[in-house]
């Protein structure tokens, strides 16, 4: 094994296997490959989870349909939620950080790349194990994505589905914990010369905040699923209240920070996209950095707002901390709006997604204040109002920002441009689809429709809103297909991407598309770093020297 090492030369480090082969990808130590594997896997699983959602919407189109049986519906919503949270949004958030952060801070690779690859494999096997529940006799897990005991104990939900769910969650969260740790280590210790902490791009800062939360919160999830595993073996322990309420505390202690894990990197992406296509420096950099860190630290103290109706949490305290989140969120919106107001806007596909993110996520945020108010939450909790709120933050918010990021960085990662026409079709379908699907759910919730019900009666008066929501979901599906077509076209009939197709600001655009093995090379060296927008600095310098000459 070590003999091959002796043959490597300074000009061309020889990997143990051919770089382009399947093994070259699956055993790679290149952060870009591991990042792309993670992000790609999560996008494939997004299709799976989206398909489950489509089936559920079909079932709810009209009252008393029988597309899915009760039990199958319960499995579908459980797996939809679990896949989206544990296997799609969180891995995408951490994976895109893994891909971009070393590039943005001028590092050749992530620290401890083998641990990072281990974490990808833990994530992948975790997803496979969780999904394999569908092949179990009793079907997949059907206890909801937060798996409250005693329902999730072996007494009330026997069968392998729940066991496989527990194993899958444990594996993939362990993977995400390790991956976040290596990326954070890279950010803190492996930056290029000149890249001070306060010269890091906004996106990298969002990843710092994200990964700090992962380190603070994910171990608690491992403990919580450990308790659940104990209850699978000794279901009697959940006859005692302390274990039930204790599990809820532990779970939400993870469960709220993870919401921001699924949000911050996407805010960072939106900030980069807005600044790039506004053609200006991001406004209020330092305040944004501070607000991200404040947001992350506060996220550790709001978990009880999921438990207002339990009668066993200090509701007013959690209401206070939840409402305090208005401060960092307000700063973020102020800075993003100021960037847009003070810019020359170019409306590319990523910019459209980023602009739509602003009002759409805002709906999620403002209704978040409502559900963070106990007196209102007693009505909204576990109703469709909550479902609507939650999907406005995650689908209308994070998912739009995710696609802003995908359209923005796809040329960098693949070396090919996506088509603008298809991208815009995708965007408009999704704007219409998202709002048609989730806006009616607010009314459903206020009118008394509980979440997680497989059907309803004609006299309930839920029919119209549900029909509209299903139509919207159909538009989302069509939009998703347009996106897939866009990727296929881009790969089949490539339009070559230049190193910097967007006139962007950060270091990853200084290198080739896709970047070389160790990110920067003689041909694409790291430019001098004097601020959080080094490429913009270069352009401004060029302009001013040209102005002087002319």
């Amino acid at each position: 094994m070590t003999t091959t090492a002796g043959r490597s030369t300074p000009t061309e480090p020889r990997p143990g296997v051919k770089a382009g082969s399947v093994v070259g990808w699956l055993a790679s130590t290149d952060h870009k490959r591991i990042g792309l594997l993670t992000v790609g896997t999560s996008l494939v699983l997004l299709l799976v989870a989206g398909g489950l959602a489509m089936a559920m919407r079909a079932q709810l189109t009209q009252p008393q349909l029988e597309v899915l049986s009760n039990d199958l519906y319960n499995q579908f919503f459980t797996m939809h939620g679990s896949m989206m949270i544990y296997m799609v949004m969180t891995p995408f958030a951490i994976g895109i950080g893994l891909y971009l952060v070393p590039l943005q801070i001028g590092a050749p690779n992530v620290a401890a790349p083998r641990t990072t690859m281990l974490s990808y494999w833990l994530y992948l096997t975790g997803a496979v194990v969780m999904l394999s529940g569908f092949s179990a006799d009793s079907g997949a897990a059907d206890h909801g994505w937060y798996a409250y005991p005693p329902l999730a104990s072996s007494r009330y939900t026997p069968g392998q589905g729940v066991n496989l769910w527990i194993i899958g969650v444990a594996l993939s969260s362990l993977g995400m914990l390790l991956m976040a740790g290596t990326v954070l280590w890279t950010v803190l210790l492996k930056r290029a010369r000149g890249m001070a902490m306060l010269r890091m791009p906004v996106f990298s800062w969002s990843i710092v905040a994200t990964n700090l939360m992962v380190i603070g919160a994910f171990p608690t999830l491992l403990v919580a699923v450990g308790i659940l595993a104990g209850g699978r073996v000794y279901p009697d322990m959940f006859t005692e209240n302390i274990w039930n309420i204790g599990y809820q505390h532990l779970f939400w202690f993870f469960g709220h920070p993870v919401v921001y894990v699924m949000f911050f990197p996407f805010v960072g992406a939106v900030a980069e996209v807005l600044a790039t296509f506004a053609g200006r420096r991001f406004f209020g950099y330092k305040f944004l950095v501070l607000s991200l860190l404040l947001f992350a630290a506060l996220s550790m103290s709001v978990w009880g707002h999921h438990m207002f109706t339990t009668g066993q949490a200090a509701s007013n305290y959690y209401s206070l901390t939840s409402i305090m989140l208005v401060i960092p969120a307000g700063i973020e919106y102020f800075d993003m709006l100021a960037t847009v107001v003070g810019g020359r806007l170019r409306f590319t596909t990523p910019m459209l997604f980023a602009l739509a993110f602003l009002p759409q996520f805002l709906i999620g945020g403002l209704t978040g204040i409502m559900v963070g108010t106990p007196a209102l939450d007693y009505q909204m909790q576990d109703s469709y109002f909550l479902v609507a709120h939650w999907h406005y933050t995650l689908a209308a918010g994070s998912l739009f920002a995710l696609f802003a990021g995908v359209y923005f960085w796809f040329p960098k990662a693949s070396g090919r441009m996506l088509r603008e026409g298809l991208g815009k079709a995708h965007f408009w379908l999704w704007v219409a689809g998202t709002n048609l699907t989730f806006l009616p759910m607010f009314w459903l919730g206020l009118n008394g429709m509980p979440r997680r019900i497989p059907t309803y009666l004609p006299r309930d008066g839920f029919t119209t809103e549900n029909l509209i929501a299903t139509i919207g979901a159909g538009l989302l599906a069509v939009g998703g297909l347009v996106f897939i077509a866009n990727v296929v076209v881009a790969l089949r009939r490539p339009h070559q991407a230049p190193p910097d197709p967007w006139q962007a600001h950060t270091l990853e655009w200084a290198t080739s598309s896709p970047p070389p093995t160790f990110n920067f090379s003689e041909r694409y060296p790291i430019p001098p770093i004097r601020s959080y927008a080094p490429l913009l600095d270069l352009r401004e310098q060029e302009q001013s020297s040209r102005a002087e000459a002319g």
């Binding site: 002796g6 300074p10 620290a111 281990l118 550790m300």
Partner: protein, 191 residues
């Protein structure tokens, strides 16, 4: 690393303040909430201390030594997955998990190049290696610096020896050695 200290410090202080507010102003019924605060702050602070120690040890700046492959990671993950699946299908599976884990441990050694291996293994792509690390704390305490010894990492990598022309004989010998290593491995596994 001042900003990193500030981040972790502010994080811990902020959460401590919040925990105290919870404890004295809102009087929770249980103790779980306080324990969770302490536990998570300890986790974040622990990571901060690890970063601090690494900084003190001078492990800062562009990392040049790179592993070649991550097969050990794959086997470790598969082993863990099979082992944990034992929770659903019986613990005998963890016996099977033993093999990939051992294989991973065995592979892990060879995947990272030994320190000092020549030529410098991780010249970055086709670039010259970047300069010395950006920041090295070297001295008995902050503020009192001592001269950096000649072989210290702060001076950057030692100059690579002049490249030797590839020699067929050497190649053949290496190939033979490699083949023998494989045969050895297979023989050992069969036992």
């Amino acid at each position: 690393m001042k900003s990193a200290h500030a981040v972790v410090g502010a994080w811990a202080t902020g959460n401590l303040v919040l925990a105290l507010i919870l404890l004295f102003a809102f009087r929770p019924a249980g103790f779980i909430e306080q324990l969770l605060y302490i536990w998570s702050t300890a986790l974040v602070a622990g990571f901060g201390v690890a970063v601090l120690l690494a900084t003190r040890a001078g492990r800062v700046g562009t990392q040049r030594r790179q592993p070649r492959r991550a097969a050990a990671g794959i086997f470790a993950a598969l082993g863990l997955a099979v082992g944990l699946t034992g929770f659903a299908y019986g613990w005998w599976l963890s016996v099977i998990a033993f093999y990939p884990l051992v294989l991973a441990a065995w592979l892990a050694r060879g995947e990272r190049l030994r320190r000092g291996t020549r030529p410098w293994p991780a010249a970055l792509g086709d670039t010259e290696p970047a300069g010395p690390p950006r920041f090295v704390h070297y001295g008995s305490s902050l503020g009192t610096a001592t001269a950096v010894p000649a072989e210290h990492a702060a001076h950057g990598p030692p100059a690579p020896p002049p490249p030797r022309p590839p020699h067929r004989l050497r190649k053949a010998a290496l190939l033979a050695a490699g083949a023998r290593a494989v045969v050895e491995m297979l023989r050992r596994r069969r036992r």
